[in-house]
Amino acid sequence: MSVGLSEAFFLVLRRELRLSFRRPDQLLQPLVFFLIVTTLFPLGLSVQLSLLRDMAPGVLWVAALLSSLLSLDSLFKSDADDGTLEQLALAGQGLNVIVIAKTLAHWLVSGAALVLVSPIVGTALAIPEAAFATMMLSLGLGTLTLSWLGAIGAGLTVGLKRGNVLLSLIVLPLAMPLLIFGAGATDRAISGTSTAGALYLLAALCVLTCTLAPFAATAALRITLE
């Protein structure tokens, strides 16, 4: 009669996705933020296409980081506020699997969605189509890593009333390598040089956080639950 770990994982994932789609405004806000911020740059800068193209990777990545951060605050907060986090912690499944499922669900509705709309932004920033694949791959790896870093920060700040600023202060410094290698990979793809090095480093960071961050986030959450 007992429920296996994978079953519990998919149950929480389904629950999170269903909750997200019941609240389309929360789903769309970070995406619209990403689109608007990146559109402001071509409007505010000079019309020189070469300048825009030079700045595009940095603009794209900073906007992606900030818009991912927007939704991170709610990762555990709503569950903590209405008492469901306690129920999840006592569900007999270990908090780890629940944290993993919740973070992956968060990435699917924020990071993955951001990757899907990034070609629109790429076009607005005059990034050549040939660089789209690298741009999307690097954004995918980067946002997944960021979701994991954010899960640790969200776990630590869930008990605070205005934790979102602190959350940014915790997560953004940790996200600097992502910005450097992510923007680097996109930059190299635009200039047509090899992107392998930057992508490998991004992938390594992604593996590192995917394997270690669940433990850190669970520990952080457990402290807050007390």
Partner: protein, 209 residues
């Protein structure tokens, strides 16, 4: 239900919250077919005690043992036999009552939709099954939370102010459910301000003098 005589045993528990010594040397024992009623003025650590017993909060000193084993040694086994209802209903407003139950109970045991509907009917809110939890009244939410406790089919119930927001018939139902659970050999720790007046073996634990 096969519960050893030494069901739940809380021994000499101390909890500090910052500088405040919230729980001072609290001990309690609950055996199968027995209910412990925890009462006391506000701020005397009733909810804290329940959180310690549930395993959410680790005491600075003292032990909580379930069937002779410390709950920290095998938390998932303990949790699978535990139903905890905090003073919040712990329902997601955007999910329907039945979805709320399905996701939360589904983590603990395999459960069918008809079983959950039966639990909702038992607590008198069958008609709320497909309504989003956010439109339910406080009393209805409390009843849905109680349906979740029933659906867990746990041996040990930890209930924090289960009578809050319930009307007269709701309170009667709550008492009946508790009596039924204890009669079947279950255990319960109930935090409540008022006397429970239940027809089952009840022990009283007063906190805060």
């Amino acid at each position: 239900m096969n519960i050893a005589a030494d069901g739940l045993c809380v021994e000499k528990v101390h909890v500090w919250r910052g500088d405040r010594h919230v729980l001072k040397n609290v001990s309690l024992q609950v055996r199968a077919g027995e209910l412990v009623h925890v009462s006391g003025p506000n701020g005397t650590g009733k909810t804290t005690l329940l959180r310690v017993v549930s395993g959410l909060l680790r005491p600075e000193q003292g032990t909580v043992a379930w069937r002779g084993k410390s709950i920290a040694s095998s938390p998932t086994d303990y949790q699978s036999e535990l139903a905890y209802a905090s003073h919040e209903a712990a329902l997601k407003g955007d999910l329907t009552a039945i979805e709320n139950l399905r996701f939360m109970v589904g983590l603990k045991r395999r459960v069918t939709l008809s079983e959950l509907q039966a639990c909702l009917a038992r607590v008198g809110v069958a008609e709320c099954a497909d309504l989003p939890a956010r439109v339910l009244s406080a009393g209805q939410r409390r009843r849905v939370a109680m349906a979740r406790v029933l659906a867990f089919r746990a041996s040990l119930w930890l209930l924090d102010e289960p009578f809050t927001n319930l009307d007269a018939s709701g309170s009667q139902l709550m008492s009946a459910l508790l009596e039924e659970h204890i009669d079947k050999g279950g255990l319960a720790v109930v935090v409540a301000h008022h006397d429970l007046n239940l027809a089952v073996p009840t022990r009283h634990l007063g906190l805060g003098g």
